[in-house]
Amino acid sequence: MRWLEYFVFLALVVGLAQPAGLYLAEVFERKPTFLDPVLRPVEFLLYRWLGVRSGQEMSARTYTLCFLLFSAIGTGGLFLLLLVQRWLPGGPADRYLTTPMTLDLAANTAISFATTTTWQAYGGETTLRYLTQLFGLVSQNFLAGAAGLAVGIAFIRGLARERSATVGNFWVDLIRALLWVLLPLSLVGSMILIWQGVPLNLVPYTEVHALEGGVQTIAQGPVAALEFIKNLGTNGGGFFNANGAHPFENPTPLVNFLGLLAIAVLPASLTITFGHMTGRPRAGWVLLAVMVVLFVGGLALCDFAESATPPQLAGLHISGGNMEGKEVRFGIGDSVLAAVVTSNTATGSYNSMHDSYRPLGVLVPLVNMLLGEVVFGGLGTGLYSMLMIALVAVFLGGLMVGRTPEYLGKKITGAETRLAVLYALLTTKVVLVLTGLALATAAGRAGLVTNMGTRGFTEVLFAYSSSMANNGQTMAGLNANTLFYNTTTAVAMLIGRFGLAALALALAGRFAAQRRWPTNVGTLPSDSATFGVLVLGTIVLVGALSFLPALALGPIAEALQH
């Protein structure tokens, strides 16, 4: 039955990619859509209020600048809101908010949400007021998600255009992403969530009279407002500490399934948008096929690890898969599917505790993040991550046949290759250096409060991989709410978001300015199965060369112990 669910999920993602991808192309090419009668007036109004000249396009440099400005101001606003939240009215009584909002926690959280990482060094129900969750977190889930989508679209335009000095208008893309994509889908999705049991209220934590006597206090809140967009925007930060495992965030398997679809469909469909906008639909399908292969591989390994009873419990006469940290309603199947989908797509909304996964079970989400989230990936960001590695593949292919490599008729010269390789190397450098730093310092090792040894090492590696990949999921045994981790993970999140996006946009600008060279017999066709295999091999090769030593010290060593 698990495999039926996996199959239906994958079939829906691939099946919906075409219509969703073409819709996205219409939205960002400003073609008419069925939502126009309602949305055009709002769009027009927003352009006027914001002073956007919607007819004016931007160079890649200006586009990057606007993206940075918008993100920086969003981060600053959220930072201030977090610092003053103690004076906001309503929501839980003060005695439940036991985690102090220190400067470093506020800064970490603000950066985390503005970069779609939504890494959470705190537990929601013991830290935040309802109005902070709404004004601060729900809004940044929308804004940061839309900004990521905008950058992804600009990257596509770079490859689609020729002899163009511009890649689009950031504000137009941002507003259209919000109005035509994220807001309407969230409205419908959130209503389904409420129907299934996700609460939406502003009442204080509710005291109920337990059947055996005594009082149970139940944390509540405007959960449904956050729940859908956290997945759709590939953000993933939960309302409560337990995130997607909490029954109010994820009450039924249907909610879980819809949430995972919300995560994966749009990033997957961007391959189709890419193929459509560049006029090479098959090139988009090839990328999607590579994604599907990697997805199935990870899923099979994670399922294999988690569905067996942990050998450590052998002799205790216990039957069933590894249920420590998992919910009965999800069982092994929904938990594994969520672990694989969320780690592939920059979304931290795990529904089971990855720290309690078996070594090979945790290896899969870790590797997914370290590969740069190329399988579907973050909204917008995933597509350029995949294309960047595809360019490295093109470069390798060019070396093999001994001529100047090209992709979609764009020449990959030294300058382009430098950008793509820098992109591929940045993750390695940041993750490994920060992991080393944490393990070499007492402040870093102080975070290991739950597990030691190889598992402790994996926790630290996981934390920086998650931050760098803007994913946000965590092996929560690590105590990350310290000055050391709040600072270092914030650095990784900033580089992972803005460093990578700046490189991608710079490349987009170079491509847009190029003419499109005609293909000839020496061209490596970008829409063939051969090319797909080359890209797949490059992903595996670059990933293995970069991270195998680190993985050998963590999950692989742990797996060999038992």
């Binding site: 709404l134 720290d355 070594p359």
Partner: protein
Amino acid sequence: MLREQFRTAILGVIWLTLLTGCVFPLGLFALGHFLFPGRAQGSLLTRGGIVVGSEFIGQNFTRPEYFHPRPSAAGAGYDGTASGGTNFGPSNRKLIEDVRRLAEEYRGSNGLPPDAIVPIDAVTRSGSGLDPHISPANAALQVPRVARARGLSEEAVRRLVADQTQGRQLGFLGDPRVSVLELNLALDGLRAPELPLIAPR
């Protein structure tokens, strides 16, 4: 030019925050409370006018006449304000010791022989610490104890468990499960219990 973009960025953050963090939730509130008022309020369960729990939030039970939920790592156990799991890795000695102890306790309280196979959900802590469900296999092993404590036939209790078992959603989503709180409420309804419903406070 920079000035102009800076101004747009500030205005953009302000207006779009209002749109997504204020207008959107308000619209959702209006719709949600109109269409699904009970759900929006947290799916609270009442008995005799008293709120006794939420359909989705697990509650602790230790008495023999009630079905027992999974062990919980939320606060002191099923603390609705402190969700979370143990985060113990599979090789963590604390986890192995806990599971061994929990399995012994489970067998002891249900009168099972020391080598009886125990379903793993009965001896592991959920990710949320608030898991409202147990597996049907776990419920089945508790039936004799509950029936004895209540003076009911095992058959009657088993029928009730079957009634309260939820299958896979749409036939293929998730795992079959039994909601402990709802099952215990149904048990109490089966025969007016002489126990006080609410312990005097």
